[in-house]
């Protein structure tokens, strides 16, 4: 354990070096607890300085029973995020969340405790605003509350699209005439690991009628690719993790012209073998595009007719799924082909990873005492 403790301790030193060791006032946290990736922001209540800004893959690795000493850093029993991924061959990897909500309570607790180690050590009271899928219910909140017990003292849960809109808007430029406020009339599409969420933001927070959510996103694409690959290469011993790795490298919805051949190297009977997954990946990505298109057009259909033409000008795609090559153009083309007038689709790119956490921290700064829920224990 000792080495792991040192690693964690050194992480603390970098964060806590910025603040006086005696600080006991409130630490505010913004947390995007994603199925795939979590983003953690933290700042003092009385300062604008961001003390922590970190992205951590939402994964917990448990060391295999019979692992030899010295294989894992500090002979740790549990590793998190990138560390866990790096040592995956010696660990059982568990994703605490599925479809944006907690699926494995123990792993979720471990992960929350890990988040604590990323925050300044003597933080005083820690208050966290935590993003929740727009479609999540009371039980999902209860589970999240239980998982962060002993980690945060007070929490507020807020639907992710609200936080993304707040985080995406540049408050400093609201008075700038050149600045086009992206939340005045936009349609947001968030393609994550577990779910695709579409919502309309027209200068106000989306109501339950302004949003749609489907449990079809990156993970479902992985499954489609894997199923199709099993048929073509029954002996290749492909896993979801491998498929995902190849998908993230070669994902594409540009048809034959833009598609690079997706060649994966797998071990068959101890020997490397090259297999071509181009068609399978194309099929998985096309299914996601179709689903996204259907959800988008349904929601456009619900919008106030007077606002639709401007709304179609501001379709914004975020989340890991938006990194599929050609996705924005393909969605735009599909909308156009289906008769929507003059659509314009923008893709946020890598930057999407911080918006929810940033919005969460903004929210934490404005929350009143009555909004904070005490976590007992």
């Amino acid at each position: 354990m000792s080495k792991l403790t040192t690693i964690q301790a050194s992480a603390r030193v970098t964060s806590s070096a910025i603040i006086p060791a005696t600080a006991t006032d409130t630490l505010l946290v913004g947390l995007d607890w994603g199925t795939n990736l979590s983003s953690l922001h933290a700042a003092r209540g009385d300062s604008t300085e961001l003390l922590v800004q970190e992205q951590i893959p939402t994964v917990v690795g448990y060391a295999q029973e019979n692992i030899l000493d010295g294989v894992l850093p500090g002979d740790a029993r549990v590793l998190f995020g990138k560390q866990a991924q790096k040592h995956r061959q010696h660990m059982r990897l568990v994703r605490p969340l599925q479809g944006g909500v907690i699926a494995d309570r123990e792993a979720a607790k471990e992960f929350a405790r890990h988040l604590r180690t990323r925050l300044p050590e003597n933080a005083g009271e820690i208050r966290a605003v935590i993003g929740m899928p727009a479609s999540s219910d009371l039980a999902a909140r209860e589970n999240a509350r239980a998982a962060v017990q002993g980690v945060f003292q007070k929490v507020i849960f807020v639907p992710e699209p609200f936080l993304a809109a707040l985080g995406y808007r540049d408050d400093d430029r609201l008075n700038d005439s050149e600045y086009q406020d992206p939340v005045l009339n936009s349609l947001y599409v968030d393609i994550g690991a577990g779910s695709t969420d579409v919502c309309i933001v027209q200068g106000r927070y989306p109501t339950v009628d302004d949003q749609l959510s489907a449990p079809f996103a990156g993970d479902a694409v992985d499954q489609i690719i894997l199923d199709a690959a099993h048929i073509a290469y029954p002996d290749a011993g492909l896993t979801l993790a491998k498929v995902r790795e190849v998908k993230e490298k070669y994902s594409c919805v540009m048809g034959d012209e833009g598609q690079q051949p997706a060649i994966a190297t797998v071990m068959v009977g101890g020997k490397p073998m090259k297999i071509d997954l181009t068609a399978q990946i194309a099929a998985g990505c096309a299914a996601l595009l179709q689903k996204t298109f259907e959800m988008t057009s349904e929601l456009v259909g619900r919008a106030d007719p007077d606002s639709v033409s401007e709304l179609l000008q501001n379709v914004i795609v975020t989340g890991g799924g938006s990194l599929i090559r050609g996705f924005g153009v393909a969605l735009q083309t599909k909308l156009l082909e289906e008769g929507f007038e003059n659509p314009r689709v923008r893709v946020l790119g890598q930057g999407y990873k911080d918006y929810v956490a940033r919005g969460a921290l903004k929210t934490a700064r404005q929350a009143q005492d009555r909004h904070w829920q005490n976590i007992l224990g």
Partner: protein, 173 residues
């Protein structure tokens, strides 16, 4: 869920099928409004009611002022009725939630009890906890107030679904 089974008619009226339907849809609109489903409530009021009112008015053979008076009285009675049911529900559920919290706080916490209102969390309600009303983006405090109320309502719903006979029974208390 159909509200047709609710046989509460606080005063006696001609046993007229149209009138009964009018009452039923008025009650439905009030319940929808109470649930925050304003658009659906408006749809009932705009799409169902006018023709029912027209038909009933033509059949009842009452003078116009009497027709208006009777409708007005029925509307306000249904509103009061739903408001009473909701008030009782609010009162009783908040008592139950508070008690649940006390019990959870004093008992040793089993590993898989998720929280104070474990009963609530495991209840049937899996409706998303979201905003029903419109809140401008700049109004973070208003948004948080709206979410807090949505969560409270979800908790009530888990213990006592609004559309249950109990709500209508409570309205008669």
């Amino acid at each position: 869920m159909s509200l047709a089974t609710v046989k509460n008619v606080p005063y006696s009226e001609p046993a007229d099928a149209r009138w009964a339907e009018l009452e039923r849809w008025t009650l439905e609109a009030c319940v929808l409004r109470a649930e925050g489903r304003e658009a659906e409530a408006v749809r009932v009021l705009q799409e169902r009611m006018p023709s029912l009112i027209r038909d009933w008015s033509a059949q009842c053979r009452l003078p116009k002022p009497a027709i208006q008076e009777r409708l007005r009285r029925m509307f306000s009675e249904k509103q009061d009725f739903v408001a009473r049911g909701l008030a009782q529900r609010r009162l009783i559920t908040s008592e139950l939630i508070a008690r649940g919290r006390d019990i959870a706080a004093s008992a040793p916490r089993p590993a898989n009890v998720t929280s104070a209102s474990g009963a609530g969390a495991s209840g049937r309600s899996s409706a998303p906890v979201g905003l029903r009303q419109r809140v401008p983006l700049g109004d973070v405090v208003g948004m948080l107030d709206g979410l807090a109320e949505a969560e409270r309502e979800a908790r009530r719903e888990a213990i006592w679904p609004l559309r249950s006979p109990a709500t209508f029974a409570a309205a008669e208390l």
